[in-house]
């Protein structure tokens, strides 16, 4: 059954995964085992395949969505404190920028890799980022920009975060952004694509 859950996530077959989870639960397999040995294990495999070029981004996203649907089924059954997310991430596209496809992709991949993600959407002001940090107490804030003109907002936001919430790490991404810019503005890290963003988030939180 765990094998079918694993395969179902890889294939992006939500109904199969949900049915197999129900069977597994009836068969006495613990919710935690279903998560770790079925769902998370499958997403690790997805990550490997994506890196090798055997799986493409839309297929990864469908697998991620399937994983999420499966997780929603098992999570309420967990004992308090038995399952911990990898960490909490606040994410958003910076002020003046309405582009969200890259940010959404990173959010989905982070979520399916085991992070708890609070997505603030697009055109997120400096104040909104600060308020969200105050409210959710994340370990990490992810900032996205597509326009070269909004890179200034990114710079301001990162600066404000490092002053007002020094314990929170930042990561940045988006077409005009690169490693040098990230270093220059004092961001905790830069990731060129979704898969790299997950790896970066893991390493920043460790």
């Amino acid at each position: 059954m765990l094998d079918q859950i694993f395969q179902g996530v890889l294939d992006g077959e939500t109904p199969i995964v949900q049915a197999e989870i129900k069977k597994a639960l009836e068969g006495g397999i613990s919710p935690l085992e279903i998560i770790n040995e079925g769902l998370i294990k499958a997403m690790d495999e997805v990550g490997r395949r994506m890196k090798n070029g055997d799986m493409f981004m839309p297929e990864v996203l469908v697998a991620a969505e399937t994983m999420k649907q499966g997780l929603a089924l098992v999570k309420p059954l967990l004992e308090e404190g038995s399952y911990q997310s990898l960490g909490k991430v606040v994410i958003g596209t910076v002020a003046g920028d309405l582009h969200d496809i890259g940010k959404n992709l990173v959010a989905m991949l982070l979520e399916s890799s085991g992070f708890e993600v609070i997505d603030l959407g697009v055109d997120v002001s400096l104040e909104q980022f600060l308020a969200a940090v105050e409210e959710h107490k994340p370990q990490l804030v992810g900032l996205s920009a597509l326009l070269t003109t909004t890179m200034a907002s990114m710079r301001d936001t990162v600066k404000a975060l490092s002053e007002k919430a020094p314990g929170v790490k930042t990561m940045v991404g988006g077409a005009p952004v690169n490693q040098e810019f990230a270093r220059e503005i004092g961001a905790g890290g830069y990731a060129p694509d979704g898969a790299a963003a997950v790896e970066l988030a893991k390493s920043l939180i460790d």
Binding site: G12, F56, M57, P58, E59, L61, V62, A64, E65, I101, N104, L105, M108, A175, N178, Q179, Y190, P192, D193, A196
Partner: protein, 477 residues
């Protein structure tokens, strides 16, 4: 069975042009005829009603007679692979791409130095082509400098046959007797071979308008053995044919028809290809050009002529004059393959691997050209319009501001709708930089090394290799 890809997007000749060129070729064959330096063939033409001048060794014929004989040639030929899934159904408007050449040199995989080709190169290239999905068959591309001339044909073909299960085609340098016995043995007898011919042979004709004695003898033997034949003339526009494209087309058309006529007189219905290698002379030096854009246009026009006669065809694709893996290499090869493919040219040989006007080959070039051919084949496929590909419902349900990234429609079509290159650099700058700054050539080299180390072609039936080596002591691998 591989049916090839249907295409006739690019049509450089109008219907009237085709008719005009046909009539002009017929006039050439009636007034001037062609020279065959071979008594047996001259007698055959005379017996069948052509006008033969035995002293001048010239055959002339009228349109009616020619068209009547041409109709005996099959409109469709199946070129089999050892693996039948690789077999090609060759007919009008169906495109295939394959290798070609007679290169004496190769760019060494390890140090990039140009060196003489060996039999091992022939075996290795076959193995490589076996894995390249945009190459539909394998034409033997090199001359093995390390094999005595008398043993070259047998070894060249055997190295190819052993290392790829795709159809193997090749030119010959001497009497094909041993080769014929070898392939009949591999098939389990002459009749079995004839049913599913897994090799074909190229016997070139000489422009303008000549068939060479020795090769005519070989054609008799090959036709008798049931081996499909290509008889390509390779006129050089401005040198061995008129400088105008139309003039070269008139001549090459007449020459292509001569080869078909000979085969049909030897044996009615013999599998033979309407074969062309139109080339161009460099007006600055009178050097021979294999990568000129006009060659692509003429190959496309010849595809139209082959369709006009309803004959299976052998054409010529992407070669480059460039000596290195540079921009010229890329654009000449792309144009040279794209133009004939867009016209539905059938067996486009020379489509991969060659460099320096076909004087040399390079392992990496096969992978690079396979990628060009993948893109070319994508172009041929064009836009598929169906209710499902229109995706109207998907657009409506996604709505303004949504995205299609994780839509099941995207997942369903992404692999078939979009060409996925293997070596093109598509990563962003930082990923490319941190990944070792590899370009397409570097990636192609990695693929070659991996294939040569790990790929196992479909083996010959158990025990056969040993038996063949005993029966044919000249075999060196």
């Amino acid at each position: 069975m591989n049916r090839g890809m249907y295409c006739r997007h690019y049509q450089p000749l109008s219907a009237k042009d085709i008719e005009t060129i046909h009539k002009a070729s017929m006039l050439v064959l009636e007034k001037t005829g062609f020279k065959i330096d071979n008594k047996k063939a001259l007698c055959l033409f005379a017996e069948n009603g052509a006008q033969v001048d035995f002293e001048k060794k010239i055959v002339k014929a009228k349109e009616e007679w020619i068209m009547q004989k041409l109709k005996k040639a099959p409109a469709r030929i199946v070129l089999y692979g050892r693996d039948e899934r690789q077999s090609m159904v060759v007919e009008t408007d169906r495109t295939f791409a394959g290798t070609g050449g007679m290169a004496l040199n190769i760019y060494d995989l390890e140090n990039g130095e140009r060196r003489p080709t060996t039999l091992e190169d022939g075996a290795n290239i076959a193995k490589l082509v076996d894995t390249l999905e945009n190459l539909d068959w394998y034409t033997l591309p090199i001359y093995p400098n390390d094999v005595p001339k008398k043993d070259v044909d047998l070894n060249r073909f055997y190295a190819g046959i052993k290392n790829t299960s795709k159809h193997v085609m090749g030119g010959i340098y001497g009497d094909p007797g041993d080769l014929i016995r070898l392939v009949h043995d591999i098939s389990g007898g002459k009749d079995k071979f004839r049913e599913k011919p897994f090799i074909s042979v190229i016997c070139s004709t000489i422009s303008p308008l000549q068939l060479e004695s020795r090769y005519v003898d070989y054609i008799f033997d090959l036709v008798e053995a049931g081996i499909p034949i290509a008889t390509p003339p390779a006129p050089i526009a401005g040198a061995t044919s008129p400088v105008t494209l139309a003039g070269t087309l008139v001549q090459i058309n007449a020459e292509a028809i001569c080869g078909i006529l000979l085969c049909q007189l030897i044996k009615e219905g013999a599998p033979v290809l309407y074969s062309v290698v139109p080339t161009t002379a460099d007006m600055k030096t009178m050097g021979f050009l294999f990568g000129a854009v006009e060659n692509g246009i003429m190959n496309a026009a010849c595809a139209q002529l082959a369709s006009y006669y309803n004959l299976p065809m052998y054409s010529t694709g992407g070669v480059t004059e460039s000596k290195v893996f540079d921009v010229q290499n890329g654009y000449e090869k792309c144009l040279g393959n794209l133009l004939p493919a867009l016209a539905g040219a059938q067996l486009i040989h020379n489509a991969a691997g060659q460099i320096d006007s076909s004087m040399a080959v390079a392992y990496e070039q096969y992978v690079l050209d396979d990628e060009i051919l993948g893109a070319v084949k994508r172009v041929i496929r064009g836009v598929e319009v169906t209710p499902d590909t229109l995706a109207t419902e998907v657009i409506i349900s996604t709505g303004p501001g949504g995205n299609f990234l994780s839509n099941s429609h995207t997942v369903k079509y992404l692999r078939s709708e979009l060409f996925l290159p293997r070596v093109a650099v598509r990563a962003n700058y930082s990923v490319w930089h941190s990944g070792g700054r590899k370009n397409a050539l570097d990636k192609a080299r990695e693929i070659v090394k991996d294939v040569l180390k790990n790929h196992q072609p479909l083996p010959l039936p158990e025990g056969m290799e040993k038996e063949l080596r005993q029966s044919y002591p000249a075999l060196r691998i």
